[in-house]
Symmetry: C2
Subunit: 286 residues, 2 copies
């Protein structure tokens, strides 16, 4: 099944939850921090236990590569082991890498993130450089059933610096959305969504509804729930019109044990409970 | 000395040459390919020999991380060893990583590329997400003498997709340039340039001259020479007004041995000769 169809079906079946593994040392329970192994190994164990505890609830996992790059080679090994473990459970894995470069360089990123040690199912891409930053992945979309999420309207406060500027009657994020629809038109699956999706934050729900209506073949990766302010009611408004999105939460889920004061092996159960609460917070509005 | 002052002085002293280590297996001489070691180790040796042969000519090295990510963990080790080796020679190293993310994630990228295994002096940044993608690095600019090059007007054909769109009287790349000038205003060195530089391709020289005039405190990393079409005369026109740039060549230099049919240990001498020819091609117009 085409990757975005697979993600769509998982989101309909389990709920649209993307568990964000933005795992850093400060989120680890004390029992793990005190283990006699490398920082990367501690984070790998943290992630594996979260995956075990949430695999029946997560439509997908998003792994934020920056958290692993920050630990150097040891961190990159943890990234590799995390994405391999999550994929071995049969769950869609999004590499949140936000790469983007000229074609010859894009070819290298495509090989790096769609094959080998860092292989994921879908990666995030920054298209400030235009279609050259996107087309190197087409081969992998066609031949290896991979997918993309391209940054359109991000969830951070300064997204407006560039993305909300007006070019004639349209904003940059609307223009980017039109491009994503066009680039994806060759890669549509049985549910009408293309293998080239879009990242739109939940922090301005009224913008999001207009984006969804303008990009009917685009599947969305939605950050901004929880720690960044978006609510279940916000996303449910979008999903009532079309089950076109997965909603990411990272800190809101993977720090749940700390809020509960749990520093032992029971931590993953707390993260599971937070994931269930997020699921309920969204599904009750649908 | 502030990092961009250091780069300015190197460029004035040696010539404005940035040697781009976009090293992939297909560029290696046959004697190296046949060695009994990993692909990453072969590339590390290739790079070290290039660095040894060009250290007196290069104002800086730019290492394209995509080429290393494409080889997985073995490639990341090669990246780490390459940047360490070039820095050990006292030469400025630019990590061409084009990262960009929300603040909490940017903190992780900053740690990852300005400390530890992947430490470089300057990194490239994509600011589609606005100032949030830039401000996490300020701490390292101030406390660790690091610098940035932010994508402004890139050298690839589809740069125009977004960067040349008009917002009122200005293009997106002009607006990005104004932001780079503003963000850098707190970090200016003794030569007037700030620690926050800009990436502008050489592929449209007339645009470049207008950008330079509009961004007088910005130092430029200039791709697009050689394989992408820019000439020594093109860049010399800019440098006559201000010695405000280093010019990168990657494939044009590191494949010189292949054009000369050299597949043995003499390869680095061919790359040195190509670097000398590039230096002359620029300096003869100044």
């Amino acid at each position: 099944m085409m990757i975005m169809d697979r993600l769509y079906h998982e989101a309909v079946k389990k709920g649209p939850i993307c568990v964000g593994l933005d795992s850093t040392l400060k989120f680890l329970p004390k029992y793990l921090l005190s283990k006699d192994c490398s920082d990367g190994e501690k984070i790998t164990e943290f992630n594996k236990k979260i995956i075990d505890a949430t695999a029946d609830l997560a439509a997908c996992y998003k792994v934020q590569i920056a958290c692993y790059e920050s630990l150097g080679l040891d961190g990159m090994k943890a990234y590799s082991e995390t994405v391999k473990y999550a994929r071995s459970k049969g769950i869609v894995v999004i590499g949140d890498v936000k790469r983007g470069d000229i074609s010859s360089t894009g070819d290298q990123y495509a090989k790096g993130h769609f094959t080998g040690d860092f292989e994921v199912d879908v990666m995030t891409v920054n298209a400030y450089m235009g279609v050259d930053a996107v087309s190197p992945y087409y081969k992998y979309i066609k031949e290896n059933n991979k997918g993309l999420f391209i940054l359109q309207r991000t969830s951070n406060p300064s997204a407006v610096d560039l993305q909300n500027l007006a070019v004639g009657d349209d904003t940059i994020y609307e223009i980017m959305g039109d491009k994503i629809e066009a680039w994806g038109s060759a890669f549509r699956g049985e549910n009408g969504f293309s293998a080239i999706g879009s990242v739109v934050g939940l922090t301005r729900p009224e913008e999001f509804e207009a984006i969804r209506a303008r990009c009917p073949h685009t599947f969305f990766l939605v950050p901004g729930y929880g720690a960044q302010g978006g609510t279940g009611e916000d996303i449910a408004k979008i999903l009532k019109a079309s089950r076109c999105a997965v909603v990411n939460s990272s800190r809101g889920l993977i720090t749940a044990h700390q809020k509960a004061g749990c520093e032992d092996e029971g931590f993953a159960e707390q993260i599971r409970n937070a994931t269930l609460a997020m699921q309920e917070d969204i599904l009750k509005w649908l």
